[in-house]
């Protein structure tokens, strides 16, 4: 339903039947890949958020806030600068960037006493700002014309959607959701405590590797296709948990679904609010997400 509404609404309103040739072109070449990509990006980010939260025992863990998205953004940017002709370099380097950022935050946040909320959020802030400064340095040093639109993209931008980007994120979000759902029972134990999980038979280090790897894959492909759309991984799993409880076997797949709906709707607002001009979709999600973050932080 959301899909149909999102496809038909826009700066040009389209009926779903009796389309003129131009309207059909808008629908199939521009709007449909964009909406489909939005859905996959939303699913990827929400699933990555939900599983990182369970793994790190922290409902505030979120790809954007942990700097994972920025890692992916930097990777994408490097690929764009150095391997422009080779389009597959973007998601690959985005994945690498996301993985390195995840690892860095995890190493910084853990201490002998374990991991607490403040440490994790602080490590995320440090990694995020550090990577941001590198990104800003790159944009100012490099050829301005080539990097035009990059700031827009950094905030999350779906306007460059193509079917290629969609296929890749579709593959990643499908694999990610299935594999992470398969780890959901182990994540239920890890969510309660790492030591408890070890005691009751979870191979903790293996689950951690799987979650970090797949979260990086999901965030990497999503960011390579659409920039850093923030807060999706925070809001969506939170709402899902409010609705159906904490069992990750439900939370992970439901987050995929709800994340898809959320980003499609946010993108719908982004391109219709001040049509024919567009807002970056990340600005919309952040507008909703930041208050939710503060609410969660206060409640913690």
């Amino acid at each position: 339903m959301t899909l149909v509404a999102a496809v038909s609404l826009g700066s040009e309103r389209l009926a779903l039947f009796d389309l003129s040739e131009t309207q059909a072109a808008i629908l199939f070449d521009i709007r449909l890949p964009r909406v489909l990509l939005a859905a996959c990006v939303g699913a990827s980010l929400a699933v990555a958020g939900a599983s990182l939260q369970a793994l790190l025992r922290n409902p505030l863990a979120e790809p954007y806030l942990l700097g994972v998205s920025n890692g992916a953004a930097l990777g994408t940017m490097l690929a764009f600068v150095f391997f422009e002709s080779f389009s597959f370099a973007r998601p690959v380097l985005a994945f690498a960037g996301a993985a390195i950022a995840t690892f860095a935050v995890y190493q910084m946040a853990r201490s002998r006493a374990g991991m607490n909320v403040e440490r994790l959020v602080l490590s995320g802030v440090i990694v995020t700002t550090f990577l941001s400064s590198i990104i800003v340095l790159l944009t100012s040093v490099l050829d301005a014309a080539r990097l035009r639109g990059f700031t827009f993209w950094l905030l999350g931008d779906l306007s460059q959607a193509t079917y290629d980007g969609f296929y890749l994120t579709l593959a990643a979000s499908t694999v990610g959701t299935i594999v992470l759902s398969s780890q959901a029972r182990a994540l239920n134990l890890m969510m309660v405590g790492e030591r408890d999980a070890l005691d009751f038979g979870v191979e903790v280090s293996r689950v951690r590797l799987i979650v970090f790897g797949l979260a990086s894959l999901l965030v990497g492909t999503a960011v390579a296709a659409s920039g850093s759309v923030g807060y999706v991984g925070l809001i969506v799993p939170h709402l899902v948990r409010l609705a159906i409880g904490s069992d990750n076997r439900l939370v992970v797949p439901m987050s995929a679904f709800a994340g898809a709906v959320f980003v499609v709707l946010a993108d719908l607002i982004a391109r219709t609010a001040i049509a024919p001009r567009e807002l970056p979709v990340g600005a919309i999600t952040a507008l909703v997400g930041a208050p939710v973050f503060i609410y969660l932080l206060r409640r913690n």
């Binding site: 025992r57 959901a184 029972r185 969510m191 309660v192 005691d199 009751f200 038979g201 069992d247 913690n300």
Partner: protein, 256 residues
Amino acid sequence: MLEVRDISIKYGAGDVVRGVTFELGEGEIIALLGPNGAGKTTLVRSLNGTIPITSGEIELDGVPLRSVSRRDIARKVAVVAQENETTFPVTVLEYVLAGRFANGSAFGWETTEDIAIAKDVLQDCDLDEYASRLMNELSGGERQRVVLARALATDARVLLLDEPTANLDLAHQAMMFQLVRRRCRDANGSAIVITHDLNLAAEFADRVMLLRGGEVFAFGKPKDVLTESNLNEVYNVQVLLDANPASGKVRVTTVY
């Protein structure tokens, strides 16, 4: 069931546990006593492999512990420790069902049998009304009983309990030990219990191990270990000993 041979555990600079040897037999309850920092928790943690030993050997049913997978260890050894608070809204039933993890498929859902077992232990632990309550809404003592229920929900024959009665009222302290005793008797289980309550240890344990500075100071029947001179030397307090009029077991009274 569990054989411990000359194990030592290094943690940072020095040995936390040094040269500990003992065997836990079927149906047996061993109480682990000793002042704070004596290495009790570290020793118990090593028995299910969650803290690595530096030297020595631990065998579980005749197999070296380090060659057994986490899942297979969890099927045989269950832990009751202090609960760390959860930020997520987890229900009591969900928490207890975690105890069935090692028995089912790691990916799937609990079976109706798993749920029946969980409900049974909730009843045993006086928690039948609590199944759908949230963990972070319970009192410390109620949570402690849920933690016990989770361990009892496993099929494990060895129970490791780290101060299981710390937050419990008198009635539930007795309940806890009766449940552990019953499991040792009916299911050929055995248990190692860390406690600071010398009288509970004397009452319920078959053998008592007194640890000091990571080493075994005394090990044997409660009446042989809980002597005035041993307790005076290990805890540096004066005690009076007599017999519990109900059970005839040794009773310790501290002199302040």
